[in-house]
Symmetry: C2
Subunit: 347 residues, 2 copies
C-alpha cells in the first residue's frame, strides 16, 4: 500500500495520523505525484460575472484573451472553463489555470498587468475577479477514484500513486497533507476585509483551506447514470447551495458549484465544487456532520453498494491549506458578496 504523503515530504511526526498502518480502505483510491522539484502549485481562478447576454459575450471574450495570453507563455498552464450562477443571481464564468512554476505564473501575470490595472473595465456589464492560491507542495493533496484521468493540478503531475492507505475514513484528508505530520493547521490571522468598491484587493487568511471537489459522469450509463443524476446530483446541489447561501455561519468563506463548459460554453458532463474555508477543521466538521453533506455521502454510499463498487463515475478532489502570503484576491466591478468578499460575515 502506498502512502499519500510522498517520500521526499515525509518527516518525523509530532502529530499522529488518525488511522494506523494496519488500516485497509474498503476500495482503491489514488493521488497525484508532483515532481519532487515542484515546491509550489499555482491555482489561478479568473472569473467574470454578468447578468445579461451582452455581459456574457464580453465575459467570454475577456477570459479568452487571458487564456490566449497564458497559452503563449513559457509554461502553458493546464486549465479549464466552468459556469455557475452565484448567490446574487449573477452568471459567472470561471477559468481555472494551474502552474507548477510560480515564476512562470508571475511572468505571465506581468504580461496581463495592464489588462487588470486599467480602469477601463470598471464600468460596463461585467465584473472581473481573480482568486490566486499557491500552496506549498507540503500543504496540498489530491484524491482520485481512478488513476487514469487526472483533473486540475493533477494534470501537471509526474505520475499517479499506487493505491493509497489514507482514505475511506473521516480525517483522511488531513492525514494526506504532508504538513499535518507536524502542524495542526489551525486558522491564523485574517486580513482586513476592505471596504466595498469598484476595485477591491484583499490579502490571505493564515491556514485558509481550499477544496476543489469534482465529478465526471461522462462515462456512466444505464442504472448508474440514472442514480447519479436522480439521487446523487440533486443532493450535491442542495449541499452546494447551502454552502453558497448559508456557509458563512459555519466558516465557509465562499462556495461555487460549477459545471465545466467547452470554449463555446456548451456544458460538459463534469462539475466541481470550489469552496474556501476559514480553516481545515471547519471544513472537516461540515463534511462529517452537517445534514447536507451526510445526505450526499449517504446517497453515494447507497449507490456504491448497489453497483457493487463497479463505478464509471469518476470522483476527485484537491485540497490546499494556504499560508496567508500564498493567497491574493482581486475584484473589479463585482457585487459586494462575490467570492471571498463575504468573508467579513464569516463564522
Amino acid at each position: 500500500m502506498d502512502s499519500a504523503i510522498p517520500k521526499h515530504l515525509r518527516c518525523p511526526r509530532t502529530r499522529d495520523p488518525r488511522a494506523s498502518e494496519n488500516y485497509r480502505p474498503p476500495n482503491p483510491a489514488f493521488c497525484a505525484r508532483l515532481d519532487p522539484t515542484v515546491k509550489h502549485v499555482v491555482m489561478a481562478f479568473h472569473g467574470a460575472q454578468y447578468r445579461k447576454a451582452e455581459g456574457r459575450e464580453a465575459a467570454q471574450q475577456g477570459l479568452a484573451e487571458l487564456r490566449r495570453a497564458a497559452q503563449a507563455c513559457a509554461q502553458p498552464p493546464q486549465d479549464d472553463l466552468a459556469f455557475t450562477v452565484d448567490e446574487a443571481g449573477y452568471e459567472t464564468l470561471v477559468w481555472a489555470s494551474y502552474w507548477t512554476d510560480p515564476q512562470a505564473y508571475a511572468q505571465w501575470e506581468q504580461t496581463v498587468a495592464g489588462w487588470w490595472d486599467s480602469d477601463e473595465r470598471l464600468p460596463g456589464p461585467v465584473g472581473w475577479f481573480r482568486e490566486i492560491a499557491s500552496p506549498g507542495a507540503e500543504r496540498f493533496e489530491t484524491l482520485f477514484s481512478t488513476p487514469d484521468r487526472p483533473e486540475g493540478a493533477a494534470r501537471l503531475a509526474a505520475s499517479m500513486s499506487g493505491e493509497i492507505r489514507e482514505h475511506g475514513y473521516w480525517g483522511s484528508m488531513r492525514d494526506r497533507l504532508p504538513a499535518s505530520q507536524t502542524d495542526a493547521l489551525r486558522a491564523g490571522a485574517a486580513p482586513v476585509v476592505p471596504a466595498v468598491g469598484k476595485r477591491v484587493r484583499m490579502g490571505g487568511f493564515e491556514n485558509l483551506a481550499l477544496i476543489r471537489s469534482g465529478q465526471d459522469w461522462s462515462d456512466t450509463q444505464g442504472e448508474e447514470r440514472q442514480l447519479y443524476l436522480q439521487t446523487i446530483e440533486p443532493r450535491l446541489c442542495e449541499g452546494m447551495d447551502y454552502l453558497r447561501d448559508q456557509g458563512a455561519a459555519i466558516g465557509c468563506l465562499g462556495n461555487r458549484y460549477l459545471v465545466q463548459v467547452d470554449a463555446d460554453l456548451k456544458p460538459l458532463e463534469r462539475s466541481y465544487g470550489l469552496s474556501w474555508w476559514r480553516d481545515l477543521e471547519r471544513m472537516e466538521r461540515w463534511s462529517e456532520s452537517h445534514p447536507t453533506h451526510i445526505e450526499i455521502f449517504g446517497a453515494f454510499m447507497r449507490m456504491v453498494q448497489r453497483l457493487e463498487f463497479r463505478l464509471a463515475l469518476r470522483l476527485y478532489h484537491e485540497v490546499s491549506v494556504l499560508r496567508a502570503e500564498d493567497q491574493r484576491f482581486e475584484y473589479l466591478n463585482c457585487h459586494p458578496a462575490t467570492g471571498l468578499l463575504r468573508a467579513s460575515s464569516c463564522g
Copy 2:
C-alpha cells in the same frame, strides 16, 4: 464548556485530540462523572440462552437467583435485564450489573462460585454465560443526550457533567477517553480461543473495545415516535443484524441488540446494542464508513433536523477500552458461536 475528560484524569498530552478547543458542537451532550475515588468499573453481563419455553423458565429462574444474591451483598449493583435472539436463533436473556467497587464484585462472585463451578448445569435446556469487563476509569467514557436519566454505569456516577465539547464529530469517542491523551489504544495480544466444549473459559484481548449504545423512546409521542419506530429503529436493526451475522470480518467479536425487559420479561421501551470489538479503531471505521451505520446516522440526522433538535428520544452510550487482564469470559453448555467464542474467525 466542559471537557469529557474529568480534571483528575487530565495529563500532558502526547497525542492530540481531533477537534481543537475552538470547536463548538451543534447540540448539547453530557457525560457521567464517576467519583474520583472510583478506579475501576465492573460490568458483568450474565446470560442465559435457550430454545424452548421450558428453557425460558429455567433461564429466568437462574438469573433471578443470581440477581437476588447480588442485591443481598454489601454494594448492591445497578442492573437491568434484557432480551434478544442470537445469530443461531437462540433466545437470550442478559442480566447486566454494574459495580464501582471491584472488591465488592469479587466478594459477590465468591458467593456464587458454587453455582458456576457445579457441573449440574452442563446438561439441561439452558446455556449460561458470563462476560465480565472491568475498565479502569481512564479507559471508560459515556455520552448522554440529556443529563437527567442515567443508564448503565452512569447510574453509579456521582453526577453528570455540564455540556461537553468532545462530541458531534467522528473521533470524539476516542477524544473522550482519558487514556487517549497518551495512548493509541491499538489491538494487542489475543487470548488462545479455547476449543469448543461444555465449559469454556477465555481470557481477554489487549485493548478490546466494548460499547453499550442505548435508546429510550418511552417519552416520545406523535411524529417523533412514528419517525423513531418507522425510520430509525428498522435501520438500527439492520445495522445490528449486520454486526451480529457478519461483523467478524471487520473486527466485531460479538454483537447483541437487546430490548430491555421487566422481571416478568415484559418489553420496556428501551433497547441497547452491546458490541465487542477487536479494538477501538475497528469500531471507529465501521461506525463512520460502513453503509449500515451511515444509514442509521443519516436517518437520525434527518429526524433531528425535522424536529428542530427538540427530541424526547434519549440516547446514550458507554465505551470501554480494556486491558486483557480486565476481561473474563465463561460459557457453560452454550452453542459454539455464543458471544466472544466467535473471536477465532474475527478479522
